[in-house]
Amino acid sequence: MIHEFNYDVAVIGAGAAGLAAAAEIAKSPHRVVLIDREEQLGGILRQCIHNGFGLRYFKEELTGPEYADRVAALTKSPNINCKTNTTVSDLKRLPDGSFELLAYSADDGVSLIRVRAIFLGMGCRERNRGNLAIPGSRPAGVFTAGAAQKLLNIEGMLPGKSAVIVGSGDIGLIMARRLCWSGVEVKAVVEIMPYPSGLTRNVVQCLDDFGIPLYLEHAMVNIAGRERVQYVDIAPLENGIAQLDRQFRIECDTVLFSVGLIPENELSIQLNVELNPATGGAVVDANLQTSVPGVFAGGNVLHVHDLVDFVSEESSEAGKSIVRYLDGKLHSDNNCVTVESNLKYVIPNCFNTGEKCTFSFRPLIVSDVALLEAELNNKVIWKRKFTYVKPAEMLKIELPAEILKTPGKLVFRLKEEA
């Protein structure tokens, strides 16, 4: 028999986002089902055994598993039922505005779960070789950086013996150092952009300290090897075009890809949640509510973050909104928020009149000094200078209630300062 359950909220995904949202909701009397397909709570944090987490959220430096344990401890509440090893495969909105989920696990079999609200906390997946269509053969030894990290840190298995890493995203940089510590020779990190795409501290601590060459404005143009990877070809880029006459060869048996993350919105699509092409995640209002009433999102499923602390903060806010929604006290204004010059996106996409609001941005430029400017109804209402702005580092600000008193259209701009 299919088990049927009723809860107030379903939190899908028990990584940093889902745990923070669930912990927040559990402070109210509402009942939460927290669902994750892995065996343990904590999501990708479990495999991030390096430190550097929690400086902002817990005011101390933690490893990924420590951070996961801290947030998981907050979800030990009689109001939260954790279902691990459980996959949600189908989501449906019923005519009365409630939701039905189908979840599957070896322990419980098939469960039909009815809830009044949903928190989307599915995180993201890694872009892979196929997404880039890197030419060459298809030997063993090609991994995404995160998959290699899991093999190494969870399974205790080496991905190979000598590696080239494509992309200088944080996971790739962290993995370069991790591989060195495991005795794997890291021969190069290759980045198509003229600047690294990971945090500066990771470039210093993971590459520079180990003497690993970083090839900026270079692309991998070939992967060779019949059975296992034998070598790769790297070429410099000029105006985005690979200069094949200047390509060079690096022998290695492993290639790792750290070339960006894609929010995992396959379930959101089932609910017809409106997605933002700039983020790959949902369009959300000031309450982090999506275009479907009762469906909220936070963390990497909404937009890719570079700090887990921001994921926790954002998802806690979404948790608070969910409580207000369930109590019938949620208020949403349709004041449109957009970005112009030098910003890729802003979250959220609406603000509430007369309420303070936190905004996150992804810059499109590298600049020593840049000015972030907010314009409400064609009048500049707020400015702040930022130093060392780059796409790798998200900007996050809070605008006070006083300056958002007028309804209307809010536009953000980022200006390079000479």
Binding site: S89, G109, V110, E126, A147, M157, S182, V221, T254
Partner: protein, 488 residues
Amino acid sequence: MYDVVIVGAGVSGASTAWQLSRYDLKIALIERWADVGFGVSKANSGIIHGGFHHSAKKTLKAKLEILGNLMFDQLQYELDFPFQRNGILVVAFTEEQMSTVRKLYKQGLDNGVRNLEMCGRDRLLQLEPKLNPEVVGGFHAPGGGTIEPYRYVFSLVESAQKNGCELFCNFEVISGEYRNNLWTLTADDGRKIKARFVVNAAGLFADRVSAVCGAEKFAIHARKGEEYLLDRNSKARPQKVIFPVPSRESKGILVIPTAEGTTMIGPTADPTEDKLDTTTSADHMQHIVTLVSRMINGISPRDIITSFAGLRPVLEDEDFYIDLSKQVPHFVQVAGIQSPGLTASPAIGGYVKDLLKQDGLELTEKEHIAYRNLPRHEFRHETPEALDELHAQNPTYTHLVCRCEKISAAEIIEAVRKGHTTLDGVKFYTRAGMGCCQGGFCSAKIMKIISRESGIPMEELTKKGGGSLLLGGKLGILTVNTTRETAK
């Protein structure tokens, strides 16, 4: 000692093995690679062709294509593999191309193909709303469709095995000798198989197998085809298989709605000297995307989730060569099985069977024949109620391992227990790892299941057999070089 040994477990060899397995015969099916279908068949476009591309009067391949096409509904019922007769559209974008369209249509009629329909622009757009509205005309072949080629091979071999056929993988024939009315085939590792009859269905290497057995000398050329697979959610997925107007070398770059709900674009057609060269190239990707974007709306390079290449085994005259050897006894050549080989394969099996009979092989039907492969319990095709019942028998049916393609642990365990112990073997058998994350999340989980079920240690698991080791060994085996670090 076997009655028949079939060299090559691709579509031709597997189909032959399956047909012969219904008779009182001892059959060996041997495969060079780690799993069946891992040569030419694995990278096939998966089209069940419509019988109009070649003349049945002039070519053996067209004759067998037309026969084979008609056999697939019954085959699907008996063998269980993904197949849909969703129809083929050949589309022209200029008046000049229309003359070729008319010629192909006429050829189809002459070949005896039923239900071909010449279409104007409006009719084409009604049949396939995703076509570029600039289409001029074309025709519809409702008898065409798509199939998952590797699943078809697995099903043929499984059914043959149920009926007593024995399979030997990683068996590369390096010599063949006929003595005292018996063939002896020797593998690179020294294994030997003795049989009264040999069927050479060795695909790209049929020329080499023929040569080492002292049979006819001919050359198989490899013609490479690159394919690009699009995400399930691609807006470009059509209902029908879309063909451009063909050239001499190939049927052109197609848009293929696969039988498993994805969309594939390709294949190219380029000769290559190296018969193991399955590399893809940046130029070809651009070329394919440009060509298919002219035919259909919604193609985006951002939707590409993976690419691969396959090689067609081609003879000089472009036709199949299926005949008894005139130089050595009891030896059937099945060579040059390029397109439409997949479509023709059921008929190829029958044709080979008849040749063997003509050559003296006695065919007596078995008393008990296992006719059907019962449909597999695949999570993605079951209702929640059915999954709940399956869970009661075996809890792993509701344990999802591959999230993207919704593959349960039960399906993966079944694959391993049936002998598919490489990561690619499991992937092609179950689809685990074929979705949008391309195994990013599930590969480690699958490897653990393979290791547990097969007893092969993790560090010895391979992607596709041979030296394709997936891992570099256990953490701790390498010496950590700290010199650079301390130098700082």
